[in-house]
């Protein structure tokens, strides 16, 4: 394998991992703080991409500004989600699942009906190529990688160092105990939802520039997020990083030798093996 190919695969792996991690972290956050299997995360990712497209292409707003605006807009949508779609049904798994599925259906078909299902691309955020040591790498992917990593680090810092982040950890371990200690679960859940949605939206926009956007790109991402959370293990937000890296690397390298479907099959085999020996996931605690 030529050094250039190796470098490109490495960058791809890291970039893909960082995007997966952004989405998976949000998903894991909602799962551990609110015990919600948020299928709707798929459409949040997709909607983020579309809003960025709208702002940057249709309204001609500066791309980086569009990115920030997208995060803000979708983040506030997260507030609406938590308040009116999740909070009324806290604890009732069945209804929440139906609710998130309803959201997927409504948003996917609304977008599909409104703007059509053909594939578009968001214009590149950082066009061009870097050449160094005889190896050329896409600036776009490098920048995405950097943004993804930065956001991930910020989130980790937020969880470990800020009061609200600590509250989130507390709730994820024992929600009743946390409430008894005076933690406002609703407020923390709202913040968690906002963060998760904003991150997913950013990922959708960045990936929309590298790949494309269409109404159903979210489905693919949702699966990745779920696989990562399974691999990471019960209650482990840190494990998401490791699992995300593993999956990103697999998805960046295996397609060079196997077809897409076979890659998934290999991944499945790995997950089954892992679960056989460690039912609680790679980094989880005993069930």
């Amino acid at each position: 394998m030529s050094p250039e190919l190796l470098a490109q695969v490495a960058v791809n792996a890291l970039m893909l991992s960082s995007m997966y991690i952004l989405v998976a972290l949000g998903f894991a956050l909602l799962l551990s703080v609110m015990r919600i299997l948020n299928f709707a995360h798929a459409v949040i990712y997709m909607v983020g991409g579309y809003i960025c497209y709208q702002l940057a292409v249709v309204y001609g707003i500066n791309q980086w500004l569009s990115l920030v605006l997208t995060a803000l807009i979708v983040g506030s949508f997260g507030l609406f989600l938590e308040r009116y779609c999740f909070r009324p049904f806290f604890g009732d798994m069945n209804r929440i699942i139906v609710m998130t599925l309803a959201i997927i259906i409504i948003l996917e078909s609304a977008v599909n009906a409104a703007v059509g299902s053909y594939v578009r691309a968001i214009p590149s955020f950082a066009p061009g190529v870097i050449r160094s040591g005889g190896v050329s790498l896409s600036v776009e992917r490098l920048v995405t990688l950097i943004i993804g990593t930065a956001l991930t680090l910020m989130l980790i810092f937020f969880i470990q160092k800020t009061k609200i982040g600590q509250q989130m950890l507390a709730i994820s371990q024992d929600s009743i105990g946390a409430a008894l200690q005076g933690i406002n679960i609703y407020r923390v859940s709202a913040i968690a939802t906002v963060i998760a949605c904003a991150l997913a939206a950013v990922a959708g926009s960045l990936m929309g520039a590298i790949l494309h956007i269409h109404p159903f790109i979210g489905d693919y991402m949702l699966v990745k997020a779920i696989v990562i959370v399974i691999l990471a293990g019960i209650g482990s937000i840190g494990g998401v990083l490791g699992a995300g890296l593993i999956l990103g690397t697999i998805d960046a390298s295996l397609p060079l030798v196997l077809s897409g479907s076979a890659t998934d099959a290999v991944g499945f085999g790995i997950v089954i093996l892992i679960l056989l020996f460690r039912p609680q996931g790679l980094f989880g605690h005993e069930a």
């Binding site: 069945n94 139906v98 599925l101 078909s109 099959a265 499945f268 089954i272």
Partner: protein, 332 residues
């Protein structure tokens, strides 16, 4: 319960069944018969999903097992020339076998994690089907033989090829039999044991219930019927596409069950029927049609905590409250 209320349910059911048997006399358009056939097959699948859910395991990959049954039966019938009457039960068994094999490690996983893992499992099964292109075809499986004709000389001669009505009756009979079996299983000891495990696995094991064994059993039973339905679908549709059994269809199955009502046996039946038939009525909306689906779901989520099937109980409870308030005036 007085005699009158005891008779209402069975009479209602009997009338419904009779109506269904007589349906082809009134409804002639093949398209509508088709809708009924497909709906009935999905009713079997969603009911079997609920059977698995009785044990506390909500599988979000169930459509894949429908696919295993369909592809197995279709391929074997097509390549080996066996009659579908034989390959359909084989399809069910194939689905059951796979469920047991990959199900065992998943039975150690708790509730929500089981759902996530089953979702992943469903996707991978379909991927494997796609990868096995040599048998399953690049974009799908075509050329599946229809149900072979039933020919008892002097008595009956039924051809299935090109006809919808024979398929309708076959599916109706099959659905009734499958639902009957699922109902019996749920209401005997096994069903009670499943429900016990779902409520508290700790207490269940403390009375000697082997949790893992029963969870695998639930998977086996549920996936068997999904496989059968899938196989019948294959020999009805004569073509299969992998997307029919993927991630989104699996999620829809869960949705049909939840919207109909997870707590009652009729739930999946009602949910599937409404969510499959109502959007058909709105077909003229084209790409806006799914929004109707979404709207129904939102209404159900906000107004009916036990799903549509629970609506009757909800009304009864509310009506009962109103009635009781009047009683004190008449009480001695």
């Amino acid at each position: 319960m007085n005699l009158k209320s005891k008779l209402i349910k069975p009479t209602g059911l009997a009338s419904l069944v009779i109506l269904l048997f007589l349906l082809p006399l009134f409804v002639k358009q093949p398209y509508y018969i088709h809708i009924f056939i497909v709906t009935m097959l999905y009713i079997i699948v969603v009911s079997s999903l609920r059977t698995i859910a009785l044990s506390g395991q909500v599988s979000v990959g169930h459509a894949a097992f429908m696919g295993i049954g369909g592809y197995f039966s279709g391929v074997v019938a097509k390549e080996l020339g066996l009659t579908p009457w034989l390959t359909i039960p084989l399809g069910g068994l194939a689905a059951m076998l796979i469920a047991v094999l990959i199900g065992y490690p998943f039975t150690r996983v708790r509730a929500i994690y089981f759902s996530m893992v089953s979702l992943f499992g469903g996707i991978v099964i379909v991927d494997i089907i796609r990868v096995a292109q040599k048998w399953t075809g690049a974009a799908g499986l075509a050329g599946i033989p229809p149900l072979s004709p039933i020919n008892i000389p002097g008595l009956i001669n039924i051809t299935f090829l090109g006809q919808k009505v024979p398929y309708y009756y076959f599916t109706l009979a099959l659905t009734l039999v499958c639902l009957l079996i699922l109902y019996r299983v749920e209401h005997c000891r096994v069903g009670m044991t499943w429900k016990a495990i779902a409520q508290s696995h700790l207490v269940a094991s403390s009375v000697g219930i082997n949790e893992a064994w029963f969870r695998v059993l639930a998977l086996a039973v549920g996936c068997f019927f999904a496989g059968i339905a899938g196989a019948c679908y294959a020999h009805y549709n004569l073509v299969l596409a992998p997307t029919t059994f993927g991630f989104l269809p699996s999620i829809f199955l869960v949705m049909y069950m939840l919207v109909g009502g997870r707590d009652s046996f009729a739930g999946p039946i009602i949910g599937t029927a409404i969510l499959l038939i109502v959007p058909e009525l709105f077909r003229w909306l084209k790409e806006f049609a799914p929004l109707i689906l979404g709207a129904i779901m939102v209404i159900v989520v906000f107004l009916m905590p036990q799903g549509i099937a629970g609506l009757f109980d909800q009304i009864k409870a509310k009506y009962g409250q109103v009635r009781n308030r009047k009683v004190p005036e008449n009480a001695a």
